[in-house]
Symmetry: D2
Subunit: 352 residues, 4 copies
């Protein structure tokens, strides 16, 4: 595919952190071209007015949402909006032949009753919803390749599920013992002016939030249940860490076979993720820092077994805005278009 | 004065960082007692609902502003409000016999035309304004002692003026060469939900703001002019640093007498601040970190002379919310009441 | 007790963070007076040369360790040394009539075989070791009151045990389900020049370490076993957070009686800690930030029950250098001397 | 040039932050290939043992320094060593036909007496030193293109000189009024275990250091003098900021012609940097954050004029390890090899 044939791409709702990641990633993608950005309160502004570091670099006006314009100008559309909006837009975009990737929670649930319970909105679009595929390529690559509607995973579920999947898939742990203690940088809260996200409030401190009731719980449980072949409930606790980007999930579970040692699990994980270029398994005894993954689409995973307690402890780190959001969406596009999964995505962090 | 005779104190506008510092400081003051807190949108709440770390520790309801109630219950009133409100309240509080300390900019200017130029509001209360004293005790202790109306200094002016005062007072530098490059933690922006103050935006970065037009400039110039005995303009540039508290002012000025050495200036500063318990002069060659002052009412000052350029460089650090705001206000109260200047104020940081 | 009768106190090994906290705390204690500081490579220096923010404030020379001098000048001695030194010094100090508080791990274990397993050193001082009391006053106040030798707890065990104790003591949880996911600021690593503790390395990131083998594990287990009345193993995972001070322990355990609700547990914890002034139980639904406790000797505790999983999640925060180390040591001294437990210790943080 | 003809590159001293940036940058460069890494105490290790995030990604053994091996395997050699070593190695590497880029201070000074004054080492290699070009491409591109020996600039000089150059070159300011107040992340201190660079020490604080005597001063002055056509002394003050990467230089100077306004200067800077792809001039009124440049080879510049004081204030930000060090070295290589100046270098940050 030559320069002249880049696939035109639109973003609806580009003012937030998810949106700016997409804009940024598209600068480097050899086969995609940003041709449309829709906003709401920012219509008419240059995108670089929202992010001045892009002045004289990104030249893109923010337009009002217009489905005909999009259909005319884009083959692929990213929806980066608050929950509850995408499911009203996606059907008309699909009908006009666009491929749709939704970064909100709207298309993450196979059972809309679960969506209603946790997100509060009544949905009657079961038919369209059934077409949606959960956009975690390490688990659902084949389905993604054949779908036009992707429900992109949440940041916490991405980190948590990549850590847990081999254990559940292979039946190595007792599913209900799974505890996910997750830690995130504050960019996960989005570009919204909230007092508790001020540097003055959130710096010099770590704190839990949403204990026993965070909305990413049912999303994790849906995939865990799928992997385990039966309904699974997990314990999930998020924490706010004084850093901008990055998620660490520390996952605990009790081994069914207490005879398993760390090296066994490294072998199993190695096989499970063999053709998954974005998952990097760390050498025994090496634990990851979140910033190893920051600025990339990578997920680093480390495994430890505690023979005293018969538990496995899996640690995974990702960049919450890339592998946890916009990068993974581009990864899905690569798969949907039949390109290399790694195309145009950042592959290695700068350290420190 | 016994326990039973504590002086009753009120705070109008206690929901911000200045307010919570006052509430916190009053917990430890042996002669003051918080008896009244007025709010606006928070009326009816427990103060600890705004700052949950005070739950079961501080028991104080937030009331609506009522001048009769205040006059009845308080002898001293702190006004911790946005600019432009205090000058409407202070006259009626003074008329009822309260001592008033205003933490906003309303009473910092002897010339109300300057206030109008920089803050935009027309004022016709020149008579009351003339009673106000600029609450920087290291320079105006005697006037503070005799006043009932204190315009408490801004955080940047406090750090800047303590660094500059001896130089200007003794005529050691060319006043118009004074450049103040100041760096502040983000709590100086207050407890307001603003995007640019989010941890995600302000962390991992330093940035200038308000270059050549920050409102603390005329306040610094007013006192510099007073010290120099003629009108002085200064260059003042603030920066936002990824930390919660603290201000560092790095001040440059050209020496009139290039023969002066560092030790000369240390002697002069030592004499100037001899009876000023909150100013700590550092040994030659030791430069301060902002956090040395954090959690205290101290100002650490360090002096360097560059014989190559004939300049003096003075570095001063304070806690922007204590010596730069609420602590200094309590210091003024101590002076107004004839108590020890250091009474009930935190004297030494915990390090690191 | 008047000013003239302050109890003289010595510190052996004051150059680290534990030492400087003790020095700082002693500035404010009404009944204790620092009369002696022993160092090693720093002998002959002023203490303030190590911590320049104390220049012209703390005047104390660092001396060589000399047991006769200590016995002559001190009634109470804090040992703030690397592991494996205190057990060689304490006997001779006790023999000369000093009360000894050891901040290292040397006197934390009732079973010296455990010490050998985890710390590697052979010990033959079982008799003296038997006199040692584990210095966690919320659990062992009476024993501390009657002892002359205190093994001060580690920072992680303090936070972990205050979170777990009521559950184990009352038999409310299945002990072997206890998982402690702990997060600490980097000051816990001490004032040692280590590459992984550089700001450049540790900032902008969170990372686990010592997974399934951190030395604080057996210390936590010893007390848990004591509380549960039988041997208990726990899962303990520490993490390094990009902040200076503070520990958060997020503790998970499965309830024996799934009918228990959050309010039940709040009542039980309230009763358990009724006369424990340094433990603050938070209102239902309020979770603590580490910095609420920083600069104080407080421990804030929050409790959540997940009825979906039958687990209790307890969150506790402390200042790792105060309640987790030096502050708790002073708290023990207060108890040993028959004073108020809160005497001379910082009671409330400055926020933010 | 095809894949098979990549130019082989070696790094001597790759364990530090400069080294790891080079290794990382070379992963993405289409025409360069890392073929050799020399170390000292790390000989025999895998490079990824030093930086575990590169495990299974970078496969490169660390070898002992051997000039014959280098000459055999490399056409370009980066020296990333402490000051005082490169000038002993470069001559023999040049003699064997290698192009040499030195990241230390050894080849930055045209006058070796200046080197001696500030770095303390006696040098007798004036002849070789005369061949060295100061590797700041925005000022010395033509000379770099023709040289085989580059003295790569320090991080502070890069930020400072890009801010000052147009002013001095065009004679717009009084040179001796130039004051550079610079702020750096702590990675500038290198990967050395130093107590003052610990997160516990450097976080939550900003502090000046090296006031009036930092070694980057003469380097800045040499280029300023070159630009001004006469000897210039500048005031330079560095500060340590609690962040990992990034430098902000806030530069003050008095305008010769007080009639100049901001827009005039924007025009002049625009012309000066027209064909300099790594310098981005910001729109009027927009001031840069350091992190806009982080992870890239960019320098963002903003200009303000204060008509009250007749001063210009120029603010520039760079990534201290890329444009301030390793990225700029690759930029020099691109020029030396006749390639596009931007080849293979990171062009745009991820925000936030």
């Amino acid at each position: 595919m030559g320069e002249l044939e880049r696939v035109p791409v639109g973003i609806v709702g580009a003012s937030g952190y998810g949106g700016v990641q997409l804009v940024r990633l598209l600068q480097d993608h050899p086969h995609l071209e940003l041709t449309y950005v829709a906003g709401n309160s920012t219509v008419g502004q240059e995108f670089s007015e929202l992010y001045p570091y892009l002045s004289n670099i990104v030249h893109q006006k923010i337009e009002a949402y217009d489905v005909d314009v999009i259909a005319d100008r884009c083959r692929i559309v990213f929806l980066a909006l608050p929950n509850g909006l995408a499911y009203k837009m996606a059907p008309e975009l699909l009908a006009r032949g666009c491929k749709v990737l939704d970064l909100s929670a709207d298309y993450r649930f196979t059972d809309l009753a679960t969506y209603k319970t946790w997100y509060g909105m009544e949905r009657t679009d079961g038919e369209i919803n059934e077409q949606a595929v959960y956009g975690l390529p390490e688990l659902y690559r084949d389905q993604i390749a054949e779908s036009n509607l992707i429900g992109c995973p949440g940041c916490y579920p991405t980190a948590s599920l990549l850590a847990l999947a081999p254990l559940l898939k292979q039946g190595l742990v007792v599913p209900e013992t799974a505890i996910i203690d997750a830690k995130s940088g504050t960019s996960g809260g989005g570009r919204h002016a909230k007092v508790n996200m001020l540097l003055a409030e959130a710096d010099n401190a770590i704190a839990p939030y949403g204990v026993a009731r965070h909305r990413h719980t049912p999303e994790i449980e849906q995939v865990c249940s799928d992997l385990a072949g039966r309904e699974v409930l997990v314990q999930f606790t998020p924490h706010l860490v004084p850093m901008v980007r990055g998620i660490l999930a520390t996952v605990y579970a009790t081994l069914r076979d207490p005879g398993l040692v760390r090296e066994d699990l490294l072998t199993i994980y190695g096989a499970f993720y063999r053709n998954r270029p974005w998952v990097k398994l760390l050498p025994a005894g090496t634990y990851p820092q979140t910033k190893w993954a920051c600025g990339t689409n990578l997920c680093y995973i480390s495994i430890e077994v505690d023979p005293r307690t018969d538990r496995v402890i899996v640690m995974s780190v990702i960049d919450n805005l890339l592998k946890g959001q916009a990068g993974q969406a581009i990864q899905c596009v690569n798969i949907m278009m039949g390109w290399e999964e790694t195309l145009g995505l950042p592959k290695l962090a700068f350290y420190p």
